[in-house]
Protein backbone atom coordinates (compact mmCIF):
# COMPACT_ATOMS: atom_id res chain seq x y z
CA UNK A 1 0.00 0.00 0.00
CA UNK A 2 1.40 3.37 -0.95
CA UNK A 3 1.98 5.90 1.83
CA UNK A 4 -0.15 8.99 1.27
CA UNK A 5 0.47 12.13 3.34
CA UNK A 6 -2.59 13.41 5.16
CA UNK A 7 -2.96 16.86 6.76
CA UNK A 8 -2.24 15.38 10.21
CA UNK A 9 0.81 13.58 8.97
CA UNK A 10 2.01 16.76 7.32
CA UNK A 11 1.68 18.66 10.58
CA UNK A 12 3.55 15.95 12.47
CA UNK A 13 6.28 15.99 9.89
CA UNK A 14 6.55 19.77 10.14
CA UNK A 15 6.74 19.59 13.92
CA UNK A 16 9.45 16.94 13.79
CA UNK A 17 11.49 19.14 11.55
CA UNK A 18 11.00 22.48 13.31
CA UNK A 19 10.77 21.66 17.00
CA UNK A 20 14.31 20.35 17.42
CA UNK A 21 15.54 23.55 15.80
CA UNK A 22 13.59 25.66 18.28
CA UNK A 23 14.81 23.58 21.23
CA UNK A 24 18.36 23.82 20.16
CA UNK A 25 18.25 27.52 19.46
CA UNK A 26 20.65 28.08 22.33
CA UNK A 27 22.24 24.67 21.95
CA UNK A 28 20.53 22.99 24.95
CA UNK A 29 17.24 21.19 25.40
CA UNK A 30 16.93 22.27 29.06
CA UNK A 31 18.50 25.39 30.39
CA UNK A 32 19.48 26.27 33.94
CA UNK A 33 16.10 27.87 34.63
CA UNK A 34 13.98 24.93 33.57
CA UNK A 35 13.48 23.75 37.17
CA UNK A 36 14.20 27.00 38.90
CA UNK A 37 12.04 27.81 41.89
CA UNK A 38 10.38 31.16 41.48
CA UNK A 39 8.13 31.20 44.54
CA UNK A 40 8.51 34.41 46.41
CA UNK A 41 5.18 35.00 48.12
CA UNK A 42 3.79 33.49 51.27
CA UNK A 43 0.49 32.26 49.93
CA UNK A 44 -0.13 28.79 48.51
CA UNK A 45 -3.13 27.31 46.78
CA UNK A 46 -3.28 23.58 46.40
CA UNK A 47 -5.62 20.96 45.01
CA UNK A 48 -5.49 17.25 44.52
CA UNK A 49 -6.94 13.84 45.10
CA UNK A 50 -7.98 12.56 48.47
CA UNK A 51 -8.39 9.05 49.83
CA UNK A 52 -9.67 8.48 53.33
CA UNK A 53 -11.59 6.19 55.56
CA UNK A 54 -15.21 7.31 55.62
CA UNK A 55 -16.04 9.62 58.48
CA UNK A 56 -19.10 7.71 59.64
CA UNK A 57 -19.32 4.50 57.65
CA UNK A 58 -17.60 1.48 59.16
CA UNK A 59 -16.30 0.11 55.88
CA UNK A 60 -15.12 1.22 52.50
CA UNK A 61 -12.70 3.74 51.08
CA UNK A 62 -13.84 7.27 50.46
CA UNK A 63 -12.29 8.95 47.42
CA UNK A 64 -12.57 12.49 46.19
CA UNK A 65 -10.87 15.82 45.77
CA UNK A 66 -9.37 18.36 48.14
CA UNK A 67 -8.27 21.96 47.98
CA UNK A 68 -6.71 24.41 50.38
CA UNK A 69 -5.21 27.79 50.93
CA UNK A 70 -2.18 28.27 53.16
CA UNK A 71 -0.26 31.28 54.32
CA UNK A 72 3.32 31.00 55.40
CA UNK A 73 4.27 33.44 58.06
CA UNK A 74 7.90 33.52 57.12
CA UNK A 75 9.00 31.05 59.73
CA UNK A 76 8.37 27.37 60.20
CA UNK A 77 4.70 27.94 60.81
CA UNK A 78 1.88 28.19 58.35
CA UNK A 79 -1.85 28.26 58.65
CA UNK A 80 -4.88 28.19 56.42
CA UNK A 81 -8.11 26.46 55.54
CA UNK A 82 -8.88 23.31 53.61
CA UNK A 83 -11.96 21.69 52.13
CA UNK A 84 -12.50 18.33 50.54
CA UNK A 85 -15.27 16.20 49.17
CA UNK A 86 -15.17 12.46 48.94
CA UNK A 87 -17.72 9.75 48.50
CA UNK A 88 -18.07 6.08 49.28
CA UNK A 89 -20.78 3.53 48.56
CA UNK A 90 -20.99 0.23 50.38
CA UNK A 91 -23.65 -2.42 50.65
CA UNK A 92 -24.98 -4.79 53.25
CA UNK A 93 -27.71 -7.40 53.11
CA UNK A 94 -30.43 -4.79 53.44
CA UNK A 95 -28.90 -1.42 52.53
CA UNK A 96 -26.76 0.24 49.92
CA UNK A 97 -25.31 3.23 51.73
CA UNK A 98 -23.59 6.22 50.13
CA UNK A 99 -21.79 8.80 52.23
CA UNK A 100 -20.60 12.10 50.86
CA UNK A 101 -18.03 13.50 53.27
CA UNK A 102 -17.36 17.22 53.09
CA UNK A 103 -14.35 18.03 55.25
CA UNK A 104 -13.81 21.62 56.34
CA UNK A 105 -10.65 22.23 58.30
CA UNK A 106 -8.74 25.09 59.78
CA UNK A 107 -5.14 24.00 59.57
CA UNK A 108 -1.87 24.90 61.14
CA UNK A 109 1.43 23.37 60.12
CA UNK A 110 5.04 23.36 61.09
CA UNK A 111 7.39 22.96 58.14
CA UNK A 112 11.05 22.50 57.57
CA UNK A 113 12.52 23.25 54.21
CA UNK A 114 15.25 21.01 52.91
CA UNK A 115 16.63 22.10 49.55
CA UNK A 116 13.78 22.39 47.14
CA UNK A 117 11.61 20.17 49.26
CA UNK A 118 9.96 20.48 52.61
CA UNK A 119 8.55 18.22 55.28
CA UNK A 120 5.97 19.19 57.81
CA UNK A 121 3.27 18.23 60.20
CA UNK A 122 -0.21 19.61 59.63
CA UNK A 123 -2.97 19.70 62.20
CA UNK A 124 -6.48 20.23 60.90
CA UNK A 125 -9.44 20.98 63.10
CA UNK A 126 -12.94 21.39 61.82
CA UNK A 127 -16.04 19.57 60.88
CA UNK A 128 -16.98 16.83 58.50
CA UNK A 129 -20.41 17.22 57.01
CA UNK A 130 -21.80 13.85 55.99
CA UNK A 131 -24.68 13.37 53.60
CA UNK A 132 -26.05 9.87 53.81
CA UNK A 133 -28.20 8.18 51.18
CA UNK A 134 -29.52 4.72 51.98
CA UNK A 135 -31.21 2.58 49.38
CA UNK A 136 -33.16 -0.40 50.65
CA UNK A 137 -31.87 -3.48 48.89
CA UNK A 138 -34.56 -4.93 46.60
CA UNK A 139 -36.83 -2.02 47.49
CA UNK A 140 -37.23 -0.96 43.90
CA UNK A 141 -38.10 -4.51 42.88
CA UNK A 142 -40.83 -4.47 45.50
CA UNK A 143 -42.06 -1.10 44.26
CA UNK A 144 -41.04 0.51 47.53
CA UNK A 145 -38.81 3.51 46.96
CA UNK A 146 -40.33 5.04 50.11
CA UNK A 147 -38.03 2.83 52.16
CA UNK A 148 -34.94 4.78 51.10
CA UNK A 149 -33.60 7.34 53.56
CA UNK A 150 -31.37 10.40 53.51
CA UNK A 151 -29.72 12.19 56.39
CA UNK A 152 -27.21 14.90 57.17
CA UNK A 153 -24.76 15.12 60.02
CA UNK A 154 -21.97 17.43 61.07
CA UNK A 155 -19.19 15.68 62.92
CA UNK A 156 -16.37 17.43 64.78
CA UNK A 157 -13.12 16.16 63.34
CA UNK A 158 -9.37 16.42 63.62
CA UNK A 159 -6.64 15.38 61.18
CA UNK A 160 -2.93 15.09 61.80
CA UNK A 161 -0.99 14.69 58.59
CA UNK A 162 2.63 14.42 57.63
CA UNK A 163 3.44 16.65 54.65
CA UNK A 164 5.97 16.15 51.94
CA UNK A 165 6.38 18.79 49.26
CA UNK A 166 8.82 19.22 46.42
CA UNK A 167 9.17 22.28 44.20
CA UNK A 168 8.99 21.04 40.65
CA UNK A 169 9.35 24.12 38.57
CA UNK A 170 8.53 27.76 38.89
CA UNK A 171 5.72 28.18 41.38
CA UNK A 172 4.51 24.60 41.18
CA UNK A 173 4.91 22.19 44.04
CA UNK A 174 4.03 18.51 44.29
CA UNK A 175 2.39 17.57 47.58
CA UNK A 176 1.67 14.38 49.36
CA UNK A 177 0.17 14.11 52.80
CA UNK A 178 -1.06 11.30 55.01
CA UNK A 179 -1.98 10.74 58.58
CA UNK A 180 -4.58 9.72 61.12
CA UNK A 181 -8.00 11.26 61.27
CA UNK A 182 -10.43 11.41 64.15
CA UNK A 183 -14.08 12.33 64.36
CA UNK A 184 -16.93 11.96 66.75
CA UNK A 185 -19.94 10.10 65.43
CA UNK A 186 -22.83 8.66 67.41
CA UNK A 187 -21.17 9.81 70.60
CA UNK A 188 -18.08 7.71 69.98
CA UNK A 189 -14.61 8.65 68.83
CA UNK A 190 -13.83 7.14 65.47
CA UNK A 191 -10.36 6.83 64.08
CA UNK A 192 -9.32 6.58 60.49
CA UNK A 193 -6.78 7.97 58.11
CA UNK A 194 -6.61 10.43 55.31
CA UNK A 195 -4.18 10.76 52.43
CA UNK A 196 -3.82 13.38 49.75
CA UNK A 197 -1.85 13.74 46.56
CA UNK A 198 -1.83 16.99 44.65
CA UNK A 199 -0.12 20.08 43.40
CA UNK A 200 0.24 23.51 44.92
CA UNK A 201 0.79 26.86 43.37
CA UNK A 202 3.01 29.17 45.36
CA UNK A 203 3.41 32.43 43.42
Amino acid sequence: MRWAPTPVRRLLLLAMVLLPRLATADGRLLDDDAFAVTSSGNLALDAGLLVATPAALPSGLSTGIAAGITRNCGCHFSYGARASWSTVTEGSQFWTVSHDDIRLRAVGAVRHTVGRGSVGLRLGLGTTIVHETRTRTQGMGAGRTDLDTTAWAALPALDLEALFAVHITGAWVANISAGPSFDRADGALRTGWVMGLGVAWEP
Partner: protein
Protein backbone atom coordinates in the same frame (compact mmCIF):
# COMPACT_ATOMS: atom_id res chain seq x y z
CA UNK B 1 -4.00 37.19 54.74
CA UNK B 2 -7.28 38.42 56.16
CA UNK B 3 -9.24 36.07 53.91
CA UNK B 4 -7.22 33.08 55.09
CA UNK B 5 -7.84 33.99 58.70
CA UNK B 6 -11.53 34.44 58.07
CA UNK B 7 -11.79 31.05 56.34
CA UNK B 8 -9.96 29.34 59.17
CA UNK B 9 -12.14 31.07 61.72
CA UNK B 10 -15.35 30.04 59.99
CA UNK B 11 -14.14 26.47 59.83
CA UNK B 12 -13.32 26.45 63.51
CA UNK B 13 -16.73 27.85 64.35
CA UNK B 14 -18.46 25.11 62.37
CA UNK B 15 -16.34 22.58 64.22
CA UNK B 16 -17.50 24.00 67.53
CA UNK B 17 -21.10 23.91 66.36
CA UNK B 18 -20.76 20.31 65.22
CA UNK B 19 -19.54 19.31 68.66
CA UNK B 20 -23.19 18.94 69.49
CA UNK B 21 -23.11 15.90 67.20
CA UNK B 22 -26.14 16.88 65.19
CA UNK B 23 -27.42 14.47 62.57
CA UNK B 24 -29.12 11.14 62.39
CA UNK B 25 -26.89 8.93 60.30
CA UNK B 26 -27.74 5.27 60.42
CA UNK B 27 -25.26 3.64 58.08
CA UNK B 28 -25.96 -0.07 57.93
CA UNK B 29 -27.72 0.03 61.29
CA UNK B 30 -31.15 1.02 62.41
CA UNK B 31 -34.36 -0.89 61.92
CA UNK B 32 -34.78 -2.71 58.64
CA UNK B 33 -38.21 -2.10 57.14
CA UNK B 34 -39.85 -5.08 55.47
CA UNK B 35 -40.38 -4.93 51.73
CA UNK B 36 -43.99 -5.90 52.26
CA UNK B 37 -46.18 -7.04 55.12
CA UNK B 38 -49.46 -8.92 55.23
CA UNK B 39 -52.11 -8.81 57.90
CA UNK B 40 -53.10 -12.33 58.92
CA UNK B 41 -55.84 -13.37 61.34
CA UNK B 42 -56.60 -16.95 62.30
CA UNK B 43 -60.14 -17.59 63.43
CA UNK B 44 -62.23 -20.50 64.65
CA UNK B 45 -62.11 -23.10 67.39
CA UNK B 46 -58.85 -24.98 67.24
CA UNK B 47 -59.99 -27.51 69.83
CA UNK B 48 -62.83 -28.55 67.59
CA UNK B 49 -60.61 -29.37 64.65
CA UNK B 50 -57.52 -30.82 66.33
CA UNK B 51 -56.92 -34.53 65.93
CA UNK B 52 -57.92 -36.44 69.07
CA UNK B 53 -54.37 -37.71 69.61
CA UNK B 54 -52.95 -34.18 69.48
CA UNK B 55 -53.03 -33.15 73.11
CA UNK B 56 -50.03 -30.84 73.34
CA UNK B 57 -50.20 -27.09 73.71
CA UNK B 58 -50.62 -25.69 70.22
CA UNK B 59 -47.98 -23.30 68.95
CA UNK B 60 -49.75 -21.60 66.09
CA UNK B 61 -47.75 -19.81 63.44
CA UNK B 62 -48.51 -18.18 60.14
CA UNK B 63 -46.18 -18.77 57.22
CA UNK B 64 -45.82 -17.35 53.76
CA UNK B 65 -45.04 -20.22 51.40
CA UNK B 66 -44.02 -19.72 47.79
CA UNK B 67 -45.49 -22.22 45.36
CA UNK B 68 -43.63 -24.64 43.14
CA UNK B 69 -44.27 -25.31 39.49
CA UNK B 70 -45.28 -28.93 39.49
CA UNK B 71 -47.13 -31.25 37.16
CA UNK B 72 -49.08 -34.22 38.33
CA UNK B 73 -48.21 -37.70 37.09
CA UNK B 74 -50.48 -39.01 34.32
CA UNK B 75 -51.50 -42.05 36.37
CA UNK B 76 -53.04 -39.72 38.95
CA UNK B 77 -55.53 -38.16 36.55
CA UNK B 78 -56.27 -41.06 34.22
CA UNK B 79 -59.00 -43.54 35.14
CA UNK B 80 -57.50 -46.42 37.17
CA UNK B 81 -57.28 -49.62 35.18
CA UNK B 82 -57.93 -51.90 38.13
CA UNK B 83 -58.68 -51.89 41.83
CA UNK B 84 -55.04 -52.10 42.81
CA UNK B 85 -54.30 -49.07 40.70
CA UNK B 86 -57.15 -47.20 42.34
CA UNK B 87 -55.70 -48.04 45.74
CA UNK B 88 -52.25 -46.86 44.74
CA UNK B 89 -53.66 -43.63 43.31
CA UNK B 90 -55.60 -43.02 46.49
CA UNK B 91 -52.54 -43.67 48.61
CA UNK B 92 -49.91 -42.00 46.48
CA UNK B 93 -51.39 -39.10 44.50
CA UNK B 94 -51.78 -35.59 45.82
CA UNK B 95 -54.45 -33.20 44.62
CA UNK B 96 -53.57 -32.72 40.94
CA UNK B 97 -54.59 -29.06 41.11
CA UNK B 98 -53.37 -28.40 44.62
CA UNK B 99 -50.88 -25.81 45.78
CA UNK B 100 -47.39 -27.31 45.99
CA UNK B 101 -45.02 -25.57 48.38
CA UNK B 102 -41.53 -24.71 47.26
CA UNK B 103 -40.08 -22.55 50.03
CA UNK B 104 -41.18 -21.05 53.31
CA UNK B 105 -40.28 -17.38 53.17
CA UNK B 106 -41.58 -15.98 56.45
CA UNK B 107 -43.08 -17.13 59.73
CA UNK B 108 -44.73 -15.35 62.61
CA UNK B 109 -46.38 -16.63 65.80
CA UNK B 110 -50.10 -16.05 65.79
CA UNK B 111 -53.01 -16.32 68.21
CA UNK B 112 -56.56 -17.04 67.27
CA UNK B 113 -58.48 -13.84 66.70
CA UNK B 114 -55.44 -11.61 66.98
CA UNK B 115 -54.08 -10.10 63.75
CA UNK B 116 -50.42 -10.74 63.07
CA UNK B 117 -48.12 -9.08 60.58
CA UNK B 118 -46.29 -11.41 58.26
CA UNK B 119 -43.31 -9.54 56.90
CA UNK B 120 -41.08 -10.22 53.93
CA UNK B 121 -37.58 -8.77 53.97
CA UNK B 122 -36.39 -10.16 50.65
CA UNK B 123 -37.89 -10.68 47.25
CA UNK B 124 -38.64 -14.22 46.19
CA UNK B 125 -35.66 -15.90 44.59
CA UNK B 126 -35.67 -16.73 40.91
CA UNK B 127 -36.24 -20.42 41.57
CA UNK B 128 -39.77 -19.78 42.83
CA UNK B 129 -40.62 -17.45 39.96
CA UNK B 130 -41.88 -18.85 36.68
CA UNK B 131 -40.98 -17.13 33.44
CA UNK B 132 -37.90 -15.52 31.99
CA UNK B 133 -36.04 -12.41 33.08
CA UNK B 134 -38.48 -10.10 31.37
CA UNK B 135 -41.71 -11.68 32.56
CA UNK B 136 -41.94 -13.86 35.62
CA UNK B 137 -44.34 -14.37 38.44
CA UNK B 138 -44.52 -16.22 41.74
CA UNK B 139 -47.47 -17.11 43.95
CA UNK B 140 -47.59 -17.80 47.64
CA UNK B 141 -50.06 -19.16 50.11
CA UNK B 142 -50.49 -17.98 53.68
CA UNK B 143 -50.53 -21.05 55.90
CA UNK B 144 -51.65 -21.38 59.52
CA UNK B 145 -49.92 -24.29 61.24
CA UNK B 146 -49.06 -25.78 64.58
CA UNK B 147 -45.30 -25.71 64.93
CA UNK B 148 -45.02 -29.16 66.44
CA UNK B 149 -41.26 -29.44 66.09
CA UNK B 150 -40.76 -25.99 67.62
CA UNK B 151 -38.27 -24.79 65.03
CA UNK B 152 -40.24 -21.63 64.30
CA UNK B 153 -40.85 -22.43 60.67
CA UNK B 154 -43.15 -24.63 58.66
CA UNK B 155 -41.10 -27.76 58.04
CA UNK B 156 -41.60 -29.14 54.57
CA UNK B 157 -41.35 -32.84 53.83
CA UNK B 158 -41.19 -34.78 50.59
CA UNK B 159 -42.53 -38.08 49.33
CA UNK B 160 -40.71 -41.05 50.79
CA UNK B 161 -39.37 -42.75 47.70
CA UNK B 162 -36.64 -45.36 47.65
CA UNK B 163 -33.17 -43.99 47.03
CA UNK B 164 -32.75 -42.94 43.43
CA UNK B 165 -29.89 -42.04 41.16
CA UNK B 166 -28.27 -38.66 41.45
CA UNK B 167 -27.44 -36.64 44.51
CA UNK B 168 -29.46 -37.54 47.59
CA UNK B 169 -32.41 -35.31 48.35
CA UNK B 170 -31.71 -33.71 51.70
CA UNK B 171 -35.31 -32.66 52.26
CA UNK B 172 -36.67 -34.77 55.13
CA UNK B 173 -39.46 -37.20 54.37
CA UNK B 174 -41.32 -36.42 57.56
CA UNK B 175 -42.87 -33.19 58.80
CA UNK B 176 -44.45 -33.10 62.20
CA UNK B 177 -46.01 -29.65 61.74
CA UNK B 178 -49.78 -29.65 61.35
CA UNK B 179 -51.46 -27.32 58.88
CA UNK B 180 -54.83 -25.96 60.01
CA UNK B 181 -55.61 -23.42 57.33
CA UNK B 182 -54.28 -21.85 54.16
CA UNK B 183 -55.32 -19.05 51.90
CA UNK B 184 -54.45 -21.03 48.78
CA UNK B 185 -55.03 -24.77 49.01
CA UNK B 186 -56.08 -25.78 45.55
CA UNK B 187 -57.10 -24.28 42.25
CA UNK B 188 -60.47 -26.04 42.53
CA UNK B 189 -61.53 -23.87 45.47
CA UNK B 190 -61.62 -20.13 46.08
CA UNK B 191 -58.20 -18.85 46.96
CA UNK B 192 -56.46 -15.73 48.14
CA UNK B 193 -52.84 -15.71 47.13
CA UNK B 194 -49.81 -13.47 47.37
CA UNK B 195 -48.41 -12.65 43.96
CA UNK B 196 -45.08 -11.20 42.98
CA UNK B 197 -44.54 -10.12 39.41
CA UNK B 198 -41.38 -8.92 37.68
CA UNK B 199 -41.63 -7.40 34.22
CA UNK B 200 -44.43 -8.31 31.90
CA UNK B 201 -47.05 -10.93 32.59
CA UNK B 202 -47.53 -13.91 30.31
CA UNK B 203 -50.46 -16.16 31.24
CA UNK B 204 -49.34 -19.73 31.76
CA UNK B 205 -50.39 -22.93 33.45
CA UNK B 206 -48.57 -21.88 36.63
CA UNK B 207 -51.53 -21.58 39.02
CA UNK B 208 -53.53 -19.91 36.23
CA UNK B 209 -56.11 -17.19 36.77
CA UNK B 210 -57.43 -16.85 33.23
CA UNK B 211 -60.40 -14.53 33.20
CA UNK B 212 -58.97 -12.36 35.97
CA UNK B 213 -56.87 -9.25 35.47
CA UNK B 214 -53.12 -9.62 35.31
CA UNK B 215 -51.28 -9.27 38.60
CA UNK B 216 -49.68 -5.85 39.00
CA UNK B 217 -45.92 -5.44 39.09
CA UNK B 218 -44.34 -6.23 42.48
CA UNK B 219 -46.41 -7.60 45.34
CA UNK B 220 -50.16 -7.95 45.31
CA UNK B 221 -52.90 -10.04 46.87
CA UNK B 222 -55.06 -11.83 44.33
CA UNK B 223 -58.27 -13.73 44.74
CA UNK B 224 -60.03 -16.17 42.44
CA UNK B 225 -63.03 -18.47 42.70
CA UNK B 226 -61.39 -21.59 41.34
CA UNK B 227 -62.42 -24.02 38.63
CA UNK B 228 -63.41 -27.66 38.52
CA UNK B 229 -61.14 -30.57 37.63
CA UNK B 230 -63.36 -31.30 34.65
CA UNK B 231 -62.98 -27.73 33.40
CA UNK B 232 -59.23 -27.94 33.88
CA UNK B 233 -58.97 -31.20 31.92
CA UNK B 234 -61.20 -29.90 29.15
CA UNK B 235 -59.20 -26.70 28.86
CA UNK B 236 -55.95 -28.63 28.86
CA UNK B 237 -57.14 -30.90 26.05
CA UNK B 238 -58.22 -27.81 24.11
CA UNK B 239 -54.83 -26.19 24.66
CA UNK B 240 -56.23 -23.33 26.72
CA UNK B 241 -56.37 -22.33 30.34
CA UNK B 242 -59.38 -22.99 32.54
CA UNK B 243 -61.39 -19.84 33.05
CA UNK B 244 -62.11 -18.23 36.38
CA UNK B 245 -65.39 -16.48 37.00
CA UNK B 246 -64.43 -12.80 36.68
CA UNK B 247 -66.91 -11.95 39.42
CA UNK B 248 -64.76 -13.89 41.89
CA UNK B 249 -61.51 -12.18 40.96
CA UNK B 250 -59.97 -9.71 43.36
CA UNK B 251 -56.79 -7.70 43.17
CA UNK B 252 -55.58 -5.79 46.22
CA UNK B 253 -52.56 -3.91 47.37
CA UNK B 254 -50.87 -5.78 50.24
CA UNK B 255 -51.38 -2.81 52.55
CA UNK B 256 -55.13 -3.00 51.98
CA UNK B 257 -55.52 -6.76 52.04
CA UNK B 258 -56.27 -8.90 55.07
CA UNK B 259 -56.00 -12.65 55.29
CA UNK B 260 -58.67 -14.06 57.59
CA UNK B 261 -58.22 -17.80 57.77
CA UNK B 262 -60.53 -20.14 59.64
CA UNK B 263 -58.89 -23.23 61.12
CA UNK B 264 -60.03 -26.49 59.59
CA UNK B 265 -59.47 -30.20 60.21
CA UNK B 266 -55.86 -30.78 59.17
CA UNK B 267 -56.17 -33.97 57.14
CA UNK B 268 -57.21 -32.36 53.83
CA UNK B 269 -54.44 -29.79 54.23
CA UNK B 270 -51.62 -32.22 54.93
CA UNK B 271 -50.05 -31.83 51.51
CA UNK B 272 -49.43 -28.15 52.15
CA UNK B 273 -46.38 -29.20 54.13
CA UNK B 274 -45.10 -31.40 51.29
CA UNK B 275 -42.84 -30.21 48.53
CA UNK B 276 -41.82 -32.05 45.41
CA UNK B 277 -38.45 -32.68 43.82
CA UNK B 278 -37.06 -29.71 42.02
CA UNK B 279 -35.60 -31.38 38.95
CA UNK B 280 -38.75 -31.32 36.85
CA UNK B 281 -42.23 -32.72 36.81
CA UNK B 282 -41.61 -35.79 34.69
CA UNK B 283 -41.82 -39.35 35.97
CA UNK B 284 -38.56 -41.06 36.82
CA UNK B 285 -38.38 -44.82 36.41
CA UNK B 286 -36.27 -47.14 38.46
CA UNK B 287 -34.50 -50.35 37.69
CA UNK B 288 -35.69 -53.21 39.89
CA UNK B 289 -32.89 -54.42 42.11
CA UNK B 290 -32.18 -58.02 42.94
CA UNK B 291 -33.44 -57.37 46.44
CA UNK B 292 -37.02 -56.22 46.76
CA UNK B 293 -37.74 -52.66 47.90
CA UNK B 294 -39.10 -52.22 51.38
CA UNK B 295 -42.81 -52.65 50.83
CA UNK B 296 -43.82 -52.25 54.44
CA UNK B 297 -46.99 -50.16 54.71
CA UNK B 298 -46.88 -49.43 51.01
CA UNK B 299 -49.52 -50.06 48.38
CA UNK B 300 -48.53 -51.39 44.99
CA UNK B 301 -50.10 -52.17 41.67
CA UNK B 302 -49.09 -53.57 38.30
CA UNK B 303 -50.44 -51.30 35.60
CA UNK B 304 -49.86 -50.47 31.99
CA UNK B 305 -47.69 -47.44 31.61
CA UNK B 306 -50.13 -44.50 31.68
CA UNK B 307 -50.67 -42.88 28.32
CA UNK B 308 -52.93 -40.16 26.99
CA UNK B 309 -52.79 -41.71 23.54
CA UNK B 310 -52.50 -45.29 22.39
CA UNK B 311 -52.55 -47.68 25.35
CA UNK B 312 -49.06 -48.82 26.25
CA UNK B 313 -48.12 -52.48 26.41
CA UNK B 314 -45.40 -51.75 28.98
CA UNK B 315 -46.23 -53.06 32.41
CA UNK B 316 -44.83 -51.14 35.35
CA UNK B 317 -44.90 -51.61 39.06
CA UNK B 318 -46.21 -48.56 40.92
CA UNK B 319 -45.62 -48.30 44.63
CA UNK B 320 -47.08 -45.69 46.94
CA UNK B 321 -45.38 -44.16 49.94
CA UNK B 322 -45.82 -45.65 53.39
CA UNK B 323 -49.10 -45.12 55.13
CA UNK B 324 -47.35 -43.30 57.96
CA UNK B 325 -45.42 -40.94 55.71
CA UNK B 326 -46.11 -37.23 55.93
CA UNK B 327 -46.28 -36.88 52.17
CA UNK B 328 -47.75 -39.02 49.46
CA UNK B 329 -45.87 -40.06 46.37
CA UNK B 330 -45.42 -42.79 43.78
CA UNK B 331 -42.41 -44.82 42.69
CA UNK B 332 -42.30 -46.51 39.31
CA UNK B 333 -40.35 -49.66 38.39
CA UNK B 334 -40.06 -51.16 34.92
CA UNK B 335 -38.21 -54.31 33.89
CA UNK B 336 -36.88 -52.69 30.76
CA UNK B 337 -36.36 -49.07 30.00
CA UNK B 338 -34.55 -45.89 30.86
CA UNK B 339 -34.68 -43.38 33.64
CA UNK B 340 -36.87 -40.99 31.68
CA UNK B 341 -39.14 -43.43 29.86
CA UNK B 342 -39.87 -47.14 29.71
CA UNK B 343 -39.94 -47.05 25.91
CA UNK B 344 -36.52 -45.68 25.07
CA UNK B 345 -34.82 -47.10 21.98
CA UNK B 346 -31.76 -48.43 23.77
CA UNK B 347 -32.79 -49.39 27.30
CA UNK B 348 -30.43 -48.69 30.14
CA UNK B 349 -31.53 -51.93 31.76
CA UNK B 350 -33.41 -54.99 30.60
CA UNK B 351 -34.55 -57.65 33.03
CA UNK B 352 -37.49 -58.74 30.94
CA UNK B 353 -36.00 -62.16 30.29
CA UNK B 354 -34.90 -62.72 33.88
CA UNK B 355 -37.02 -60.66 36.27
CA UNK B 356 -36.03 -60.51 39.93
CA UNK B 357 -37.62 -63.23 41.97
CA UNK B 358 -39.74 -60.71 43.89
CA UNK B 359 -41.14 -59.02 40.75
CA UNK B 360 -44.91 -59.27 41.14
CA UNK B 361 -46.08 -58.21 37.68
Amino acid sequence: MGAVIRLATITLVTALVSLSGCGDLQGFGGPVPPLVSFSVTATGDLGAVRPPDDTGTPDLHAALVWGRQWLVEPICILPPENADAAAVIAAGCRDPLGFVPARVAANVPIELGVPASLELFTLPAADVLVGDLTARVGYASIVIYDDKDGDGTLSLGRPNRPQQMGPPDTTPTQSSDVVYSASFVTMTAPDLRVAFRQGAFIPSGFYPRAGCSDPPVAFSVLGAGGFSVADALAATLAGTLPQEDPATCTNQDPSAAAFTLAVQPPAPLAELRCTERSTDSSVRYREPDTDPPDLTNRTMACVHSPSFGTPSDVIELVISGRSDDSCVGLTHYVLKGCRETPTCGTPDWDHSLAPPTWWPC
